[in-house]
């Protein structure tokens, strides 16, 4: 099958890097004037140093108005739910890396329900399930079981786990999976090899072709992203993330896409970032992606400070996590090691009231189980019922 890998190999990193850095004022102005309708060329211009130094304010204004037109005055909230910190990969930037001497934990289904009960009480209806990458301990069966366990309680379930096969994604989809986040981390192959030392994640190509497998499996939404700071030329990294998304959107046109902009932060297996992304760089990235893709979901996590998150809100952000814990069992006060340090430590209610004060409606629910019913029922099935049988969560919590 043709995948993005075939296109990726024909685009040279150095050529892109040079193209970005030699962008002219005129090219940036034109990209802004035509609201990014010039496609990947406009995107390249918007990522340039000259766009950063001379056009950041007009980019921000355009990004703001495009976002409001498409998404309105509303922000969607979700919570990450860490299922396991088991991992077979050695990656030099991650707290879950195999070599790290930390307490390993995988939630039992009872523990999972306890965490779910806490999130439910906080008001969450969209949950992202996260694991390390351990096919043996948190393989397809475990993930599928977890989705089935949580399905009655949440409208929308996403995962961020090891890359799977197309058929495996199909199985999860029929259990109620909505979206999959799979960050390439970096599109620079040399840098990728330096940071992903052992385990299945060291296979760059397998990871790169994952969104194609998701597209073929018909998963509703695919989340892409880079871990900025791994590779020095972050502008080129962002270009490839955009290029990848553009390819996917043309090919899997029924699928929705989301983009995140995590920056490398200190954690247990600490390494100093190759490059430190400044706040203004994050602003440029958000605006460039928004102008390039008006309907892209843009997500900002609690890795960023509350102050910066509040400032980034009007620039193009559509989705946020809040009150996050990044260790398995974290919501129930379990103290196993977290994957990365939380910077915005406000409670969910603090975040939601801040959003309302800033003039945003807080959207807790933007999906419904009935949308997935046709996965498991025939059209003429008379036994359709809209409510799923579910035990009382308070017992588990």
């Amino acid at each position: 099958m043709t995948t993005y890998n075939d296109y990726f190999s024909s685009v040279k990193w150095d050529v892109i890097s040079e193209k970005i850095s030699s962008t002219s004022r005129n090219q940036v102005a034109q990209a802004i004037n035509r609201e990014g309708r010039g496609g990947i060329n406009d995107f390249t211009a918007l990522l340039s140093p000259i766009a950063a130094s001379e056009f950041l304010e007009p980019m921000a204004r355009l990004s703001h108005s495009l976002t409001q037109k498409r998404f309105g005055k509303a922000i969607r909230l979700f919570a990450p739910l860490y299922l396991s910190n088991e991992c077979n990969n050695v990656c030099d930037y991650c707290g879950f890396s195999l070599g790290n001497k930390i307490v390993r934990k995988t939630l039992s289904q009872a523990e999972l329900l306890r965490e779910a009960g806490i999130l439910k009480k906080m008001g969450f209806d969209h949950v992202l399930l996260v694991t390390g990458e351990s096919t043996k301990k948190v393989g397809l069966d475990y993930i599928n079981q977890s989705i089935s366990t949580l399905r009655p309680y949440f409208s929308n379930l996403s995962i961020e786990v090891q890359p799977l096969h197309q058929e495996e994604y199909s199985v999860l989809k029929s259990s109620g999976l909505h979206a999959v986040l799979v960050y390439q981390e970096t599109y620079n192959q040399e840098s990728y090899a330096q940071h992903h030392l052992k385990g299945k994640k060291s296979n760059f190509e397998w990871r790169l072709a994952t969104p194609d497998r998701l597209g073929k499996a018909g998963v509703h939404k695919i989340g892409l992203g880079c871990l900025f700071g791994l590779t020095k030329d972050w502008r080129a990294d962002a270009f490839f993330a955009g290029h990848h998304m553009d390819y996917l959107q043309r090919k899997y046109w029924r699928t929705q896409y989301s983009m995140s902009f995590p920056r490398l932060r200190p954690c247990a297996g600490e390494i100093p970032p190759e490059v430190s992304l400044e706040d203004r760089d994050i602003v440029q990235l958000i605006c460039a992606f928004r102008i390039f893709n008006h309907e892209l979901e843009i997500s900002i996590s609690t890795r960023e400070s509350s102050e910066l998150r509040d400032h980034l809100l009007p620039l193009g952000v559509t989705t946020m996590s809040a009150g996050s814990k990044t260790n398995p069992g974290g919501y129930g006060e379990d103290e196993s090691l977290e994957q990365f340090e939380i910077s915005d430590s406000r409670s969910v209610s603090e975040v939601s009231s801040q959003l309302q004060q800033s003039g945003y409606d807080v959207v807790w629910k933007d999906w419904d189980q009935s949308y997935d019913q046709s996965n498991s029922y025939a059209l003429s099935d008379d036994s359709f019922e809209c409510s799923t049988e579910k035990p009382d969560l308070s017992i588990a919590g």
């Binding site: 008001g123 209806d125 999906w367 059209l379």
Partner: protein, 258 residues
């Protein structure tokens, strides 16, 4: 469609302005906008409806008012099969058989799928739904939707949320000319003049959302739309003089006949 009151499936409406509910900054604003527009038909996406937890639903509790019909919609479904399930859920949860049928498999421009929309209309009509399908400004499709059992058609002016107005004007004209059902122009209406234009053309009603929700002052804009819809419809009923691109000759060429 010349009568003063809009009639759909035997029910009469004074207001010809329908309101969509996404994108507002709060339930309170939405609630006020409904009052200011005087709308009697408000649509809500079932994926946003939080039936079990009203405290986390900034739409439904704010639109359940007397004199306002709630029109659930299937926004987010990708095919007829999904639409049918969501429609049944909507009927059960909101106790209404009215439905705005929306099937847009393309999340980019949210273009309605004509094939799936027709299939779902056929199926849902059999199940007794009052269906208002969102569709392209395609005159043949609109006639087929009529045949399939729709109670009105909702062709687009331009892409959802685009504020571009009536890009599809010429095809809307044909649809209105041929229709035996109410024609409600949905999507793309970005300013009151667009709404007035649709009504002057003879549309039965218009649906507005983004233009209200993201305006600097949604309440003032609500009043502006209310006035524009009323003005456009009144002008249509009054009869608008035909336009001419050339001046009338002072000495008509056929004068010699008299």
């Amino acid at each position: 469609m010349n009568s003063e009151k809009l009639e759909i499936a035997g029910e009469k409406f004074d207001s010809r302005l329908f309101v969509g509910t996404g994108k507002f900054s709060s339930g309170e604003t939405l609630s006020q906008v409904i009052e200011y527009t005087g709308t009697e038909m408000v649509t809500v996406a079932m994926k946003r409806a939080n039936i079990g937890d009203e405290s986390r639903d900034s739409i439904l509790p704010h639109i359940q008012k007397s004199g306002v019909r709630i029109l659930p919609n299937t926004s987010g479904v990708r095919d007829a099969k999904e639409a049918v399930f969501v429609a049944r859920m909507a009927r059960e949860a909101l106790e209404t058989n009215w439905l705005k049928l929306e099937i847009h498999p393309d999340p980019k421009y949210l273009m309605p799928d004509p094939v799936e929309t027709l299939l779902a209309t056929e199926e849902l009509a059999k199940e007794g739904f009052i269906i208002l399908p969102y569709c392209h400004a395609d005159p043949v499709l609109c006639k087929k939707l009529e045949d399939a059992g729709a109670s009105a058609v909702m062709p687009l002016g331009s892409a959802i949320g685009s504020n571009r107005g009536l890009d599809s004007r010429e095809f809307l004209r044909i649809i209105i000319e041929q229709a035996s059902l109410p024609v409600i122009i949905d999507a793309g209406i970005g300013r009151p003049s667009h709404a007035a234009e649709a009504m002057e053309m003879g549309a039965s009603a218009v649906l507005v959302n983004t233009a209200l929700a993201v305006s600097g002052d949604p309440l003032k804009m609500a009043t502006a739309f209310k006035d524009a819809v009323r003005a456009g419809h009144t002008a249509f009923v009054a009869g608008i003089g035909s336009e001419s691109s050339t001046a009338q000759p002072t000495s008509p060429l056929t004068n010699f006949l008299s």
